[in-house]
């Protein structure tokens, strides 16, 4: 078996366009249009691009949160793209996701214990309630939050703390691959640095693999071993951070780099 945890080939996600007045079929909206890339085990692959470039859809398609139009998603050699939702369940345990907005991705009516317990109930049904509580406290500690916070509700936390809870929820089921969808975009620079460092520590500790979706080039450069640049549903350029930043080939990458205010 190769060292690639994930191999994506010719992935497309098309949404039907709106039919016009004469009921003629409209052109589909091609959110992702035939992209191929690999994610090696234990590495971080950065995915950059503007809003609407298809980077988020790519991440979501991998965990079946977006419908696949064509292409293959091989996870350790198994095509997970064709699986039904129920057949995909064992892979949901292996592939977890961290969302951009820490304010909307946690249920406001559930306390932290139930937020962290839910994935455990699904993927580890043999666990007792006590086991789960012990595990949840341990999870909170691993994201550097005090275990006493289990009985609190999301509104009692700051943005950075909520993002840590989102990370703890993803870690709960001991995943191999985490898709981080703009995990630090909504955070202050100082909190951003803490969360980025935490993600890197956890990667080392648990041997995690990341697909890191973001629009901040400096952050992506910092965390990634390999960078994919997306524009209009396609990957226009890919390479190591030093290749992409030192010698960008595609016009879009150059525009993106030129737009970053330097100091």
């Amino acid at each position: 078996m190769s060292d690639n945890l994930l191999e994506v080939s010719d992935l497309s996600v098309h949404y039907p366009g709106r039919a016009n007045w004469f009921f003629q079929k409209a052109e589909p909206k091609k959110a992702v249009d035939g992209i191929s890339f690999v994610v090696p085990k234990g590495k971080t692959v950065g995915l950059v691009g503007e809003s609407g470039s298809g980077k988020t859809t790519t991440g979501r398609a991998i965990v079946k949160l977006a419908p696949l139009t064509a292409g293959k998603i091989l996870y350790q050699g198994v095509d997970i793209g064709i699986l039904s939702n129920s057949a995909f369940l064992p892979w949901r345990k292996k592939i977890q996701m961290i969302f951009q907005d820490p304010y909307n991705s946690l249920n406001p009516r559930a306390d932290i214990l139930s937020i962290l317990s839910e994935p455990l109930e699904i993927h580890f049904p043999q666990m007792t309630r006590e086991d789960r509580e012990v595990r949840c406290a341990e999870l909170l500690r691993s994201v550097q939050l005090p275990a006493e916070h289990l009985r609190r509700f999301p509104h009692e936390f700051s943005g950075g703390q909520r993002q840590r809870i989102g990370i703890a929820r993803a870690l709960a089921v001991q995943p191999e691959l985490i898709i981080c969808d703009e995990p630090v975009s909504a955070l202050d620079v100082s909190v951003q640095a803490e969360v980025v460092n935490l993600l890197q520590d956890l990667q080392e500790q648990f041997g995690l693999t990341y697909l890191f979706v973001a629009h901040d080039l400096a952050v992506v450069e910092h965390v990634s071993d390999h960078i994919l640049v997306m524009s209009k549903g396609r990957i226009v350029e890919q390479g190591t951070p030093s290749e992409i930043l030192g010698n960008p080939q595609h016009d879009y990458t150059k525009t993106l780099l030129a737009a970053v205010p330097r100091f």
Binding site: S190, Q192, A193, V196, Q200, H215, L217, E221, L257, V260
Partner: protein, 285 residues
Amino acid sequence: MLPIMSAEPLLKVQDLCVTFRTGDRATVAAQGVSYELAAGEVLAIVGESGSGKSVSALALTRLLPPEPSCSLSGSVQLSGVELQGLPEDKLAKIRGGSIAYIFQEPGTSLNPVYTIGFQIGEAVALHRPEVKDIKAEVIRSLAEVHIHDPERVANQYPHELSGGMQQRAMIAMALACNPKILVADEPTTALDVTIQKEIMDLLARLRRERGMSIVLITHNFGIIANFADKVAVMWKGSIVESGPVEQIMRIQSHPYTKALIACIPRLGQRRRRLTTLSDELRVSR
């Protein structure tokens, strides 16, 4: 061309304090905030969430909850006229008139049930009663912010526009009343870098052409270095350091400023780990 700076600053803020009260608890959101802003100048206010930067900007025109839940003290002088204690109807003319605001999330600051044109027209009708042809004025203001098809956009609703276009519409609305000061509260935080550059270039041009002053609230030091004349760093409700942008970007005298700049990842300067704020500098949360 920048207008010649007169001795009297356009805006003079002295010892501004904002306190919020909930039940029997009082929270001081801003304390002893003082700065001056000359015509055509850009002042950047930088700091983390909760440092009091937005609250102190809103306090300029008392865009805050009424007493007793929020109390305000200190002095705000616009061209020598004291704004604190001004009756509400006079203050309403200044809000959006002499001092206009644009906010971080254009999607939530625009009214979803009215067209862009209607919302800009409303501001024009309110603040510039002398304008006869409001529609033409709306189209002109949309064209000024480089919206290519102003007639069409004027008839659209906010949800039909992208984030960048919504922010342009917000800027058009703010500028339609010819403000002397534009308060831009994190105008590009929700936008992509390429759109961010377009918006910042647009603000720089408008400032140049109109000699308008800008209070720019941001936590992006890249934007500050390229755009601002002066910087004020806020921490826990107070300005801990301020000065010309070249000076602050070069040497930071307050440890908080130093730490804040150090924790930003920079392109082409890869480090193994990002620096984080030490416990004593962290805003308690």
